[in-house]
């Protein structure tokens, strides 16, 4: 992740005690007691303990943890559906805990949309009216909110269902309505509490893909909760791992997988850890197109365009890997009137053999993120591995 990204939300030392006397519980916490002891001594539950992290503008941050780890509590603290006991939460430069009731309503309207595990659609409202809800609350004119809500429904693929009632829809469709309600609202942050957990696996996968597409289109700051590692790896830019109300690790999917902070994380990714026996071959895809080193630059460019890629591996007759040609370089070659591309190749890419452990591949994806070339002993090109495929492969291993 780029260090210069703007911070959207700062969570600073947040604790939440469910009970009448949070101070006493926090004091015990400071003496080093854990959740069960505090519960026994004070009858209060330490829901969250000293949580700190940032959410960057436009990122999709996943909060992951087992049941009871405090995920729902944490996400509800962000928009103050739950009041925190200690710490501070800052969005842009508003301090959420110190907002007045009126300011809080204003802040929720401007900043937060929310999607719920059990959908929480209004049964007495049509799909369209549900999608309009946030706008209605904000007092947007009927014509405008109608238009915006219809667009949102189109985005989630629900045209034609505007006048249906939620109980006429399948679970997957209901959650699309929930998503449309959130998107139509156009708040600056999207909060999703186990939004896909109630859906069956196929629909769930589909919704994940859709969310990713929406995300790449809209770059909306999203906090997504799940207890499912597969889901977290699949969609998260970064993952915050919670355990018993505490943060155990924050990092990219790769960091979590390759450098688990402790045994808890390790156990969490245990299934996935079979990646040690997974190799580059399992994630390898056939090369869609290559160029020969004798090809002219126009031919190479044409192939790139045909396959919508912006770089291409170059081999000789016997598929021995010669180098990589970037589209820019190819254009330069055309401008220079070069006959062949052989002088314009770069060696700035990574090659692995087919039995390289999959885990090691993460580190190899450089900023430009060329596909990694998989070659045999004689440097013949066998296939390529793209970043997404590695995660997919690992996640699938985690499933088994």
């Amino acid at each position: 992740m780029d260090e210069t990204r703007n911070v959207k939300i700062q969570v600073k030392g947040v604790s939440k005690v469910f009970g009448k006397n949070p101070k006493s519980a926090l004091e015990l916490r400071d003496q080093g007691l854990k959740r069960p002891e505090i519960l026994e001594k004070t009858g209060q539950t330490l829901g969250l303990s000293n949580i700190s992290f940032d959410v960057y503008e436009g990122e999709l941050l996943v909060i992951m943890g087992l049941s009871g780890s405090g995920k729902s509590t944490l996400i509800r603290c962000l928009n103050r559906l739950i009041d925190i006991s200690d710490g501070d939460i800052i969005i842009d430069d508003e301090h959420i805990p110190s907002l007045s009731v009126k300011e809080l309503l204003e802040c929720r309207r401007r900043h937060f949309s929310m999607v719920f595990q059990n959908f929480a659609l209004f049964p007495h409202k049509t799909v369209l009216q549900n999608a309009q809800f946030g706008l209605e609350i904000r007092g947007i004119a009927p014509a405008e909110r109608d238009k915006t809500a219809r667009e949102a429904l189109t985005q989630v693929g629900l045209d034609g269902w505007e006048d249906a009632y939620p109980n006429q829809l399948s679970g997957g469709m209901q959650q699309r309505v929930g998503l449309a309600r959130a998107l139509a609202n156009d708040a600056s942050v999207l909060l999703m509490d186990e939004a896909f957990s109630a859906l069956d696996p196929l629909i769930r996968k589909e919704m994940q893909e859709e969310l990713l597409q929406l995300q790449s289109r809209m770059q909306k700051t999203t906090v997504f909760i799940t207890h499912d590692l597969d889901e977290a790896l699949n969609i998260g830019d970064r993952i915050v791992l919670l355990k018993d109300g505490e943060v155990v690790q924050i990092g990219t999917p790769e960091q979590i997988l390759t450098q688990p902070a402790d045994d808890y994380v390790r156990r969490f990714i245990e299934g996935v850890d079979r990646s040690r026996i997974l190799t580059a071959e399992s994630a390898m895809r056939p090369v869609r197109t290559t160029a020969r080193n004798g090809d002219g630059p126009r031919t190479a460019l044409h192939r790139m365009r045909e396959n919508s890629v912006d770089s291409i591996y170059v081999t000789d007759r016997d598929r021995h890997l010669q180098g990589l040609l970037e589209a820019e370089e190819a254009s330069r070659a055309v401008d220079a009137g070069a006959d062949t591309i052989s002088d314009y190749l770069t060696q700035d890419f990574r090659t692995v053999t087919r039995d390289e452990p999959l885990q090691n591949l993460f580190a190899m994806f450089s900023e430009k993120s060329f596909p990694i070339a998989v070659v045999d002993d004689e440097k013949r090109l066998l296939g390529v591995v793209v970043k997404g495929a590695v995660l997919d492969e690992l996640a699938r291993a985690g499933d088994q």
């Binding site: 929720r108 929480a120 007495h124 946030g134 609350i137």
Partner: protein
């Protein structure tokens, strides 16, 4: 040794006397308004020809419920007319309608407040229990010093007697709205008024309607009893039959009450169901 009985009755009487003298201006104003309302509605319903009202009710039943109810209602009302009880039936209906309107207008806001405030809830629920377990006749007694003998007293007693279910069901309906939906409304920044109007009230409507249905039924039973303090209508037909020892007349009037009750009940029930 003799135990002195507590002069509870004296206290209550004293209180009532004080109230009636102190607030006679208010009671007289209420009396006048209510009387005007009763007379107006009564005159309106009487002005309609028998077949006109009959057709109107049948149409309403048809639209709101079923052709079956429409036919039944028409037949029942024709029977009442045939028995010569049309005018008393109209008088009873008038009292029921006005008492229900007043009761509902008071009950729904009170029910909403009790649903939203735990403290009020704790105060109101025992009061409702008290109101509902107190024998119905007892309300007739204080009505007289306030409003004298007649229809206004009947309305007063009926409103008090029939209000509790409307309050209770309104409170229940609002409290039953799933917390997730309240949370969703909160999450999108709804204020209390928006939450109430856009979420809580629409979702509690069926329950509220069930309460209103009960209120109507109680109002009907009380209006009949209120014949004892001079309310006109089917009740006074029964009352007269008792005094003259004519059971046949009494039963005829009783059957008219049953028919009216069934029409009102089915009609309000189907109004509840036809809403989503």
């Amino acid at each position: 040794m003799e135990i002195q009985s507590i002069p509870l009755g004296d206290w209550i009487e004293g209180g009532l006397t004080w109230l009636t003298t102190e607030y006679s201006v208010v009671t007289r104003a209420i009396s006048r308004v209510t009387q005007t309302g009763i007379e107006g509605l009564n005159a309106g319903l009487m002005w309609l020809p028998v077949w006109g009202l009959l057709a109107l009710v049948a149409l309403l039943c048809w639209k709101a419920a079923s052709p079956r109810l429409a036919i039944g209602a028409a037949a029942g009302m024709a029977l009442i007319w045939n028995l010569g009880l049309w005018d008393p039936m109209i008088e009873t209906l008038t009292l029921v309608v006005i008492a229900t309107l007043v009761a509902v207008v008071i009950a729904i806001p009170v029910g909403i407040l009790a649903a939203l405030s735990n403290r009020l809830y704790r105060v109101i629920m025992p009061v409702l229990d008290f109101m509902q377990t107190m024998p119905a006749f007892v309300y007739l007694i204080p009505a007289i010093p306030f409003f004298g003998i007649g229809s206004v007293s009947a309305i007063f007693a009926t409103v008090i007697f029939s209000m509790p279910p409307a309050i209770r069901f309104t409170t229940l309906g609002i409290r039953q709205v799933p917390v997730e939906l309240i949370e969703a409304a909160d999450a999108y920044g709804a204020n209390r008024r928006q939450k109430l109007i856009k979420v809580q009230l629409p979702l509690s409507l069926p329950t509220v309607m069930a309460g209103i249905n009960q209120t109507i039924m109680l109002a009907l039973s009380m209006v009949v009893i209120a014949a004892m303090i001079g309310a006109d209508g089917l009740g006074s037909e029964v009352w007269r039959a008792i005094q003259r020892l004519r059971p046949g007349d009494g039963f005829e009037a009783g059957i008219a009450v049953v028919i009216l009750a069934m029409i009102l009940d089915r009609l309000t029930q189907s109004l509840t169901k036809s809403r989503r």
